[in-house]
Subunit: 327 residues, 2 copies
């Protein structure tokens, strides 16, 4: 930096007091046009830039919101965070990227930033139930798809309906042996509702529910190994409802390897329906989440939280089935 110019310097050059300079900076209070001009002139001459931190210290706000998600290197989270960033930006907030990588330490560290008042709020889509600080009531936190604590509003897609749509579609397609992939971790993951819908429909149709566990943070080739087993252990399978699109993709690969044609021999439906997936794999039939709407709702709720409004709420948004050729 050159020498850093502060408000004092501006004031001195303009021949006014620091307070007056501050007033013209913030368009606040009564000012004569003459001083306004003088001060503006001085600011220009000195190339003055206000120091954001100093202002923040006084205001006790940074206009920064943290985004805690497992990773951004994934079609769903990438689109969701892009939408969140845009909504936040429009409200004057900037987004701090917090990729937790399912690492409790890292997640907690980002939570600290909030506690240390470097962040005005948090939108979380990852959650390690071990972390106690979440339970501190009244912190400005909003969750997406995860129940964090009963103090934290949750914005969520209608996962049950999504599971129902997918399963029903496979049934309507005439599938007799439908298998579901999901990941373990019973507590409060959004996927549980998808699985429940699947189980309910299967049971209503007197068919056995079979669920294969595919942990979220395993490397892709490991997941593929697990999914291949479906075809080894259940050669009769003729329908797969995957808990997300990348697993659906792996199912497609495994099916092809096993000599099945899709959709003739086996039908596959995924979940998420993010832009990138639709672009790269348009043939996949999937349940599409209302990503944009979820982002908007989350930001809206967060604003209320930051404003101190109590509002513990659950917001559930509708999903829809988008047609491909795999089911």
């Amino acid at each position: 930096m050159e020498k850093k110019i502060k408000l004092d310097d501006v004031a001195r050059l303009a021949g006014v007091s620091k307070a007056t300079a501050s007033r013209v900076l913030n368009h606040r209070g009564y000012l004569s046009q003459k001083t306004i001009d003088k001060v503006h002139q001085a600011m220009e001459d000195l190339n003055y830039r206000p120091n954001a931190i100093a202002r923040q210290l006084y205001k006790q706000e940074t206009m920064l919101v943290g985004l805690i998600f497992p990773t951004i290197n994934n079609p769903y989270f990438a689109q969701l965070e892009a939408a969140l960033e845009k909504c936040l930006y429009n409200e004057g907030y900037r987004a701090v990227m917090g990729n937790s990588e399912n690492n409790a330490k890292k997640e907690e560290n980002y939570l600290q930033l909030l506690l240390d008042r470097q962040l005005d709020g948090l939108i979380v889509g990852a959650h390690n139930p071990e972390i106690p600080a979440y339970h501190k009531t009244s912190l400005p936190i909003v969750s997406i798809e995860r129940v964090v604590s009963n103090q934290v509003p949750v914005v969520s897609a209608d996962n049950y309906e999504g599971g129902r749509l997918a399963t029903q579609r496979l049934l309507d397609d005439g599938c007799q042996h439908i298998i579901h992939t999901n990941y373990p971790g019973g507590f409060a993951s959004p996927n549980q509702a998808r699985e429940s819908a699947y189980r309910d429909l299967m049971s209503q149709n007197d068919r056995p529910a079979i669920v294969y566990q595919v942990p979220f943070d395993e490397p892709e080739d490991q997941k593929l190994v697990r999914i291949r087993k479906i075809f080894e252990e259940h050669p009769e399978v003729d329908g797969i409802f995957a808990d997300n699109d990348t697993n659906a993709r792996l199912a497609l690969t495994a099916a092809t390897e096993a000599g099945r044609r899709c959709p003739e021999d086996i039908k596959i439906i995924g979940f998420d329906g993010a832009d990138m997936t639709r672009l790269l794999l348009p043939e996949l039939t999937t349940i599409q989440q209302p990503i944009q709407e979820m982002a908007e709702a989350a930001v809206e709720l967060l604003k209320e939280k930051i404003a101190g409004e109590p509002a513990v709420q659950y917001r559930t948004l509708p999903v829809k089935l988008v047609e491909g050729t795999t089911a």
Copy 2:
């Protein structure tokens, strides 16, 4: 918030001065074990959290780095920013997401955050040449794949080599009519080097170079319309070198629509080779960028810049061809 506890409160409860409390907080200076314990005890009792902004005001640093890229909703940028976040995190920095959406206003706004000292540095992968502030020498900025100004170090993949690899491969495959897609904007985009390599090789092999313009920020269906034209206007085409993987994907779609089989009738090579693309579209043969290494290099250079080391440098990292079945 409950009532906010400050260092004064801690000091009072521990029966020491604010200065001493600050010392134990920062493990600085000589302290007797007894006071250390007392102060720690008081901190625990009061559930003290230091105010990050106050500290920043003194230190004049926020440990925040801005990431300015067109969007994060894209396989390449998502992976790149994920890698950057991780590298920055390991160095103690947090990443502020700045999706410029090719909007000069938004890009400039993020640049302001740097000028206003809310950010310690910037890593930019988007660049609107209109913006003058970049030229202020000595700002801690590093660029990825874009020449911003001669004061800003650039980390880049070996785009020329990538273009060469791709074109050579198509030639080796026996393609007679190879077409390249790229986007307009001659100045300093990384894609220009890819195109140059293509043109050089075509000319060396006495073949005409044909380039179709596909603007970066058009919607995908528009891009598809443009790419379809290739098959209408040049039915003899038997090889396509796309400037990125999503365009390669569109070329694949257009080819199929036109009744071509890939790779029998037409061969296609993309560029980028991001994880997500590899996962969703593994059949695509493409030139893979060293995303991880680029992120590491950028963070390293940025650290030097922030430390005030002059170091105007260009760093070029090797690419490689990854095999799929489309070429």
